[in-house]
């Protein structure tokens, strides 16, 4: 790991901590739903609703975690595989 990478990690962590320092009492709702609300307030009624919705926010976070972990497994497998291949030589 190069110095460049260490600096980048620090910057990235800072990026996502700073919001809580600047506005500790904000709601941190989704930008998607903020826009949805803005449009609904104009009196718009969506003409189609999702064919299936996660029954609760627990199930929703389960599925989000599933999505992220599917991706993370593939990335981890790829990186480990390539590093192992190189190390064998």
């Amino acid at each position: 790991m190069k110095t460049k990478h260490i600096i980048l990690i620090v910057v990235m962590v800072a990026l996502f901590i700073v919001p809580f320092i600047i506005s500790p009492s904000a709601e941190y709702g989704g930008a998607d739903s903020a826009v949805e609300e803005l449009i609904s307030n104009q009196g718009y009624e969506p003409w189609f609703s999702p064919i299936w919705e996660p029954p609760s926010s627990e199930i929703e976070s389960l599925l989000f975690a599933l999505q992220a972990s599917i991706g993370a497994i593939i990335i981890g497998y790829f990186v480990g595989f390539e590093k192992g291949k190189r190390a064998k030589k």
Partner: protein, 230 residues
Amino acid sequence: MHIMEGFLPHPWWEIWYVISMGIVAYGVYRLSRVTKKLPEAKPLLALMGAFIFVLSALKLPSVTGSCSHPTGSGLAAVIFGPAIASVLSMIALLFQALLLAHGGLTTLGANTFSMGIVGPVVAYLIWVVCRKARLPTSAGIFLAATLGDLFTYVTTSAQLALVFPTAAGFFDAFLKFGAIFAITQIPLAIGEGILAIFLFDFLAKYKGQLLAAIKVISLPITAHEQEGKE
């Protein structure tokens, strides 16, 4: 950047579908050509898809006091070209539309257009310009991924403003949506740029020859590829 299910009335959702599906179809053609010519590129394709999956699942806090998520499609565009990034983005969007009620089937065309077409095209062009300007590779990757992410949200704002202009017109609505989407997105886009540097540095070191063989990317390979010779 998800436009929620049912929030694009006729004829807009059809228009975006037609545009997006044309490009996704071209992307599928490109995809089959790459995998036929370079079967060893398949794991790399999966990796790019996985990067999009992870990033678009992460809802991150922003300085505006709301949350949004990065897209991950810029890096795929730099490595495989924008059309293939469109296909990969649509897969992630479909997953979220079906299982998470995030985005939707009627808005899939529009969401694919912003995340899978405009974002990747912007990322790809920025990358090309940075290479021409002989900027360091990391700077090019960072700018490509960051601006691709940001322009995805700018596009969503424009798409919504077209359908829901305020009394003052399209531009006023565009600024209003942009204020929610694009401003929130700035720190997230920077984060995506940083993550893209990490993955790209790894690929340049371990898969330099494969990246060059795909022929989308022209690397300043010298140092990297020597390191990456297998």
